[in-house]
Symmetry: C2
Subunit: 246 residues, 2 copies
DNA sequence: TGGGAATGTTGATGTGGATCAAACCAATTC
DNA sequence: GAATTGGTTTGATCCACATCAACATTCCCA
């Protein structure tokens, strides 16, 4: 934020990515590659890009060309209706993949916006296709990533279609907690990168409802909320909220 | 339904599929293949399967092994929560692909149920992977199919998260109409294969609301409804329902 | 460092769609 | 062709969440 523009530009070009030495390898790449294969991957991902908070990696309707693996930071993807209403379709963090929506029609269909200063690895799609024709494990991995995105969205549909407000928020918190855990962060304490409005948009609720439900969870002793800081005090309690069917 | 069991079994085995002569080729396969490539595909899809109304092609948790291209008929996919609540996540018709949810964890995550007697082409997934390493166009096509499924689900999320009942149903009808059109059927008249309850489940509404909204659309002169028979009388009218933002 | 814009909380009130309930209708089955 | 069954329609009532409103807090950056 404070760095002068020039410095920033230089930084971007200086960033030679190296999957081989990336701590997120297990997250976004197939495991069990031999040295040769890892080198190929290093050639595929030859640029990283910084994205400042509020900026987008890509916007709806833009020509599709690359996928983006999040190296650090936090994103939301949003869809905008003609009448201006918009909806958050997902929150993505380090190790997650952005841009797969663009393959189908060769143009992006949503906006990917950084919620904090972030860094992505640019994966030129043509190169990925090429390499995954050569490397079976890469092909398999990529298909799994896409399939998991389909399954994740199924889950959101279930949430939006069948759950009440408390259940939605409980599911949301448990999901975040689980994802932080699998990235080596605390499962029980984290900072929300998004606003109440963005959470509401994702969960099909109004921001007031999100706020009230947070307060209720706090009264119930499930969590403690201090603005963006969340501490989960009673995971089983939250899970019970999810379980009970009314 | 009336055919004796034996006859049915024989039929199944007699069905040698041939992509090369399939009328749905444009729908579910890449275009612009040469003779050699088409022959390869014929080898990939070597069985068809009949699925009777009410039966499933696969069920949640089952081991994943194949994708299924719908050759004829109509399906729904459903998700079931632990407490029994279930949700329809999609309706699929001829030319659509089933089973991509299973790739990620090597087991299916939803149920694919036939809403009428149907027929699917079985695509062994390993074979598809293999072939798409050899054939660039097939690889591209398959990736597009998966990506489009992601985009479709984005649309459903928008619908469930941001639209009111009338908008949801209008969007649903317009979508169905469009899909029938692109398959060469009438855009303005068709029979619903699903019940009001299934429509409601898909749209996050109760069956009574679906029924009432159909009635309202009829009063408004947008459609005529006679049980499962729908006739769309005023497409622009329906589109306007979708457009207005409250 | 202070003042204004975002963002978040909480209360009072309104409403779209859920729920409950009763007919109705069409398709099977006996 | 009466009885059963699964699906649909319609009305009356209710409630979860939206909306409107006032205020509190935090975060900027001028």
């Amino acid at each position: 934020m404070n760095a002068p523009k020039l410095a920033r530009v230089i930084d971007i070009h200086a960033l030679k990515s190296a999957c081989s030495s990336c701590s997120l390898r297990e997250m976004c790449l197939p495991t069990g590659l031999d040295q040769n294969e890892i080198e190929k991957l290093d050639q595929m991902v030859y640029t990283r890009k910084r994205v400042k908070r509020g900026d987008s990696v890509y916007r709806s309707e833009e020509k599709f060309g690359s996928l983006y693996a999040i190296r650090s930071g936090f994103f939301k993807t949003t869809l905008v209706m003609e009448d201006g209403r918009d909806q958050v379709t997902g929150f993505q963090m380090a190790g997650d993949m952005l841009g797969m929506d663009g393959i189908g029609a060769d143009q992006h269909t949503c906006n990917a916006v950084a919620l904090e200063d972030s860094e992505v690895c640019v994966i030129p799609y043509g190169r990925l296709e090429e390499l995954s024709r050569e490397m079976h494990v890469l092909q398999q991995h990529f298909h799994k990533v896409m399939s998991r995105e389909i399954v994740r969205e199924h889950g959101v549909m279930l949430l939006l279609g069948s759950m009440r407000a408390e259940e939605r928020l409980a599911a949301f918190l448990l999901n975040l907690s689980q994802r932080f855990t699998s990235r080596g962060y605390s499962a029980s304490e984290f900072n929300l990168r998004m606003t109440r409005e963005e959470i509401g948009s994702y969960l099909g609720l109004k921001l007031e409802t999100v706020s009230r439900t947070f307060s209720k969870f706090q009264e119930d002793g499930f969590i403690s909320v201090q603005q963006k800081n969340i501490r989960i005090l009673d995971t089983p309690g939250l899970k019970k909220v999810l379980g009970r069917d009314q």
